[in-house]
């Protein structure tokens, strides 16, 4: 995991929970946003947009396929931060 992502993991989790409108204790690292937390594709786009703004990165929309759990979010964000730096 990217160092910045590891440092701000709690913040990312909070952002994910805020966007998906779920409690933080409901979200595990491998819980599917779509199947377990009831998110839809629009929520994923919103999550991506929030991450881009919060971390000042640019993520390709094709990464939606990977934004399906918290580990995927960490991975996508880590790669985006690596590209930026």
């Amino acid at each position: 995991m990217n160092a910045q992502v590891a440092e701000r993991a709690d913040e990312i989790k909070a952002l994910v929970c805020r966007v998906l409108e779920v409690d933080e204790d409901q979200v595990g690292p491998r819980d599917s946003f779509l199947d377990d937390l009831g998110a839809d594709s629009m929520k994923l786009i919103e999550l991506l947009a929030n991450l881009e703004i919060e971390f000042d990165v640019e993520v390709d929309p094709a990464e939606f396929a990977r934004l399906v759990d918290l580990d995927g979010v960490y991975a996508v964000l880590g790669e985006a931060l690596d590209r930026r730096d």
């Binding site: 629009m42 786009i45 947009a49 703004i53 390709d60 929309p61 094709a62 939606f64 396929a65």
Partner: protein, 177 residues
Amino acid sequence: MGAFDRAAAARAKMAQVQREMAERRSLRDRNFRQKREQALDAFKKQGPVMEQVAKHLGELGRRRKQAGGWATQKTEQDKDFVMGFGLADEDPSKDPYNFRAAPRPAAAGTAPGGIGSLDEDESPLARSSAPMPPPAPEAPPAPEPPAPPRAKRRPAPRTEIDDDDDFSNQSTWMQNR
């Protein structure tokens, strides 16, 4: 308890209720202002988020349209993929002009010189692909021997053949003689 006392108690009670109501009102107003500021902040944050969402949706729509309406992961992934033919499509790590067959498993018990005994390194293909040894230095040219005198050419003696069975030499009758 006289009427004045009851009135004073009622006034005190009324003043207490008014104070309580005022406190409640001020608390409500404070909460309202707090919530309004939070909502404003969230709305201000949501603006760029929605802008970003719209951008992503537009981009996804553009890719799907480019892919002829197919919303597959592949079409959404390759942003500016241009279909082409030729070596660019193939794996650049594989050189198509330097193909070598997979090594044969070592045949056990093969008689020397028999089928299958030719090692890959001994094959003509391997030999041909091996680097050529540098050419030997050229020997200095030997002095040319004196040319022999040219022999005079003599015309071949003409033989007149007129064989009935052999038509290959039947040309004399065409010579108008």
